[in-house]
């Protein structure tokens, strides 16, 4: 189809060029550090997510009863991440803790289980965005993409210090353009739809519940 390519580009080049406009100054609303956690929490709660601030050292202990109360029996974890290691160290000794399932093989080997047989998953995040109440995830070989998507409950861990004000600020400060990962994600609430009469319903394809643990130090 290289003919199509040549013809399309030739037609575009034959058109009278317009002058590229300068990008006007625009700054997204700055959110002072002291207000970020409150804004982040309020925005997430407004879209039906559950937010808990917990001491960074004790999150597995907080999470176990929280998930048990939701009837969770199996939790997908990434064993090679710091979060996976913390769960593996803490939960086996707790009688109320759910059973851990490791996402340690390619999806093809785990597909049936992942699609229908897990109650929840725990992932880390790169941080949060206060303006929109968004989690920033760059899935890795250790912590794959489907963890935050297939199980009905997604638990995300956010370091309080990693909550930034806006996406524009984050993209610029962290120089995302230099090297994008295979998949970068913003997640702002549980899966939802309003396709039936504008009525909100949750969990149509992805997680029905999003539980955010903000790790405080």
């Amino acid at each position: 189809m290289s003919d199509a390519r040549a013809r399309i580009l030739a037609r575009l080049r034959a058109a009278r060029p317009s002058i590229p406009p300068a990008r006007p100054d625009w700054a997204p609303p700055a959110i002072p550090p002291a207000e970020r956690l409150a804004r982040f929490t309020a925005m997430l709660e407004a879209v039906h997510a559950e937010v808990h601030a917990v001491p960074a050292a004790a999150w597995p202990a907080h999470l176990a009863p929280l998930l048990a109360a939701k009837g969770v029996r199996t939790v997908l974890a990434a064993p090679a991440t710091w979060a996976g290691k913390a769960l593996a160290a803490d939960w086996p000794s707790r009688p109320d803790a759910p059973h851990l399932v490791a996402y340690d093989q390619p999806v093809e080997a785990l597909k049936d289980r992942l699609v229908a047989g897990i109650d929840a998953a725990v992932t880390t995040t790169l941080g949060g965005i206060a303006e929109t109440g968004s989690l920033v995830l760059w899935p890795t070989p250790d912590e794959p993409r489907l963890m935050s998507l297939l199980p009905p409950i997604h638990v995300a861990l956010v370091d309080e210090a990693a909550i930034t004000d806006t996406l524009a600020g984050l993209v610029a400060a962290a120089n995302w353009a230099a090297a994008m990962p295979t998949n970068a994600l913003l997640i702002s609430g549980p899966s939802k739809t309003a396709d039936i009469e504008q009525t909100l319903a949750y969990g149509v394809h992805g997680p029905k519940e999003l539980v955010v643990l903000v790790l405080t130090r």
């Binding site: 013809r7 625009w26 794959p144 295979t182 913003l186 549980p190 939802k192 319903a201 149509v204």
Partner: protein, 491 residues
């Protein structure tokens, strides 16, 4: 359901069975359908209120909108160069890039990729371009099952219909209609109007389709030339599933969706969902920059990008009409359109309804085919006012009306001049004659003041107006006569 919603009447813009515009003939049926009107009215009112709440700060809106419009205008100004850069970067990232001039080429490319992979079961994320090229029909005809996974698209696929809104495809349906559809089509599903139960039923039915799919097909919201990144936004997670779970992902997009830099994305993301549905952001922003790497555990092993022209390079040729291609498909123009809100999306008969469709369809499809579209407007300008990327929709509507009747020297739009008619020509010739000659004007206006009320409301041409409205009464004296009596003679 009324006839104009039925399957088979709405086709892809460039599909073999081209629709012909007959908006005026179809509008009365929609206007007389109380269910349809209630469904649209409720939805549009809600969407307008939610959008207004998002942009309450006028200064912030103005600055953000200028930045978003500049990002799109810049991308168009550099379009050929950016498409080449996008191709280079995507290729370097491991995404295979294909170019298609026509719908038939785009369909053939997608089918060839699927065949090479041996894929016959496809799951689809929402994509208006795939509607435009009639991809589902093409795949079905060649033994590939393509299941729509966006809830709204799934519903209308079950009903055998076309989307009636570009963001909320099944907005014309109420829950009773959907309950009936699910009870008939999803095994084991009883009739229920409970929205949570209906949603859960769709999840169950589609989960298995996702697991079994050998390929996922999606659209693209923004393609970033700088990094070779495909940005997809959605609320349901079906877009992420379609682009992550199957071993093969094919993204199909119009050539105009490219932006130059990654930092163009945040302002556009701050405009699109807020304009579309009044959300601060969609649940998922999914940025894909390549297939699964060897050490990664999930994601498709192959990612393809099909760059589709479909008449866009022709639109690009005219400096004024080119602004049409800025569109980021938020649907705010239709949500705020007094015509769209009353007749709904199917009345337009083309894939893109409402104001953006009224300017896009005639340009992609030709004024000989879609020449009625620019006239299906009150020119109130609400669309131009809410457009997040400052497309001068009302100006382009007027320009297309001119092209439809009196085309520019080298026709800017295919089928230019096709809406010209003898009656209109005579009418305007008469108007010019009368308005160009003061004595004749005085004579005609005095005659109308004396005799105008004797003209029956049913004479041809006048009847188009008086069918729905009272015939206006002529005053006994003309304005000129009254002015002369008041001492303003000939000033």
């Amino acid at each position: 359901m009324d006839a104009h919603n039925s399957a088979g009447q709405t086709h892809g813009i460039n599909s073999a069975h081209k629709p012909r515009g007959d908006f005026t003939a179809r509008a009365p049926a929609a206007l007389a359908n109380p269910t349809l009107r209630a469904n649209f009215r409720r939805a549009m009112d809600g969407l307008m209120t939610k959008r207004a709440a998002q942009f309450a700060d006028r200064d912030a809106w103005t600055a953000l909108r200028a930045r978003g419009a500049a990002a799109r205008a810049n991308a168009l100004a550099r379009l050929p160069e950016l498409l080449e850069r996008l191709e280079d970067r995507c290729t370097a990232n491991g995404i295979r890039v294909h170019w298609a001039e026509t719908a038939a080429e785009a369909n053939a490319i997608v089918l060839a990729i699927l065949r090479e992979a041996g894929a016959t079961r496809v799951i689809k994320g929402k994509s208006m371009v795939s509607e435009e090229i009639g991809l589902n029909h093409h795949l079905e005809a060649h033994g590939v099952t393509a299941v729509e996974s966006d809830l709204g698209e799934y519903i209308i696929q079950l009903a055998g219909e076309a989307p009636s809104h570009i963001v909320m495809p099944c907005i014309h349906k109420n829950k009773a209609e959907i309950a009936q559809l699910f009870a008939e089509n999803i095994p084991g599903q009883p009739y229920t109007e409970d929205v949570d139960s209906l949603t859960a039923a769709a999840r169950r039915a589609l989960r298995q389709r996702f697991a079994a799919a050998e390929a996922g097909i999606s659209g693209v919201n923004f393609a970033v030339a700088e990094t070779g990144t495909l940005v997809l936004i959605e609320n349901e997670g079906n877009g992420r599933l379609s682009t992550t779970l199957p071993p093969l992902h094919i993204a199909v997009t119009g050539i105009e969706k490219v932006v130059e830099r990654l930092d163009d994305v945040p302002p556009l993301l701050a405009l699109l969902p807020r304009s579309a549905t009044g959300q601060a952001i969609t649940t998922y922003v999914n940025m894909i920059s390549g297939p699964r790497k060897p050490d990664e555990k999930d994601g498709p092993r192959e990612v393809h990008l099909v760059l589709y022209d479909g008449g866009r390079s022709r639109v690009y040729d005219d400096a004024e009409l080119r602004d049409t291609l800025r569109c980021i498909r938020c649907g705010a123009c239709m949500n705020h359109c007094p015509v769209y809100a009353r007749v709904g999306g199917h009345t337009y008969r083309f894939v893109y309804p409402g104001p953006i469709g009224k300017i896009l369809s005639p340009q992609l499809e030709g004024l000989d085919c879609a020449g009625d579209q620019p006239f299906a407007s009150s020119l109130c300008g609400a669309c131009s006012e809410v457009c997040p990327v400052q497309i001068p929709l009302a100006d382009i509507l007027v320009r297309l009306r001119q092209e439809a009747v009196r085309p520019s020297a080298t026709p800017a739009v295919k089928g230019g001049g096709s809406q010209a008619g003898l009656a209109a020509d005579l009418g305007w010739a008469g108007w010019r004659l009368v308005y160009g000659h003061p004595a004749l004007y005085a004579l005609v206006s005095r005659l109308l003041a004396r005799l105008g009320n004797l003209i029956p409301a049913s004479v041809p041409m006048l009847r188009q107006w008086t069918r729905f409205r009272t015939k206006p009464r002529f005053a006994a004296r003309t304005l000129h006569e009254l002015a002369a009596r008041g001492g303003f003679d000939r000033e």
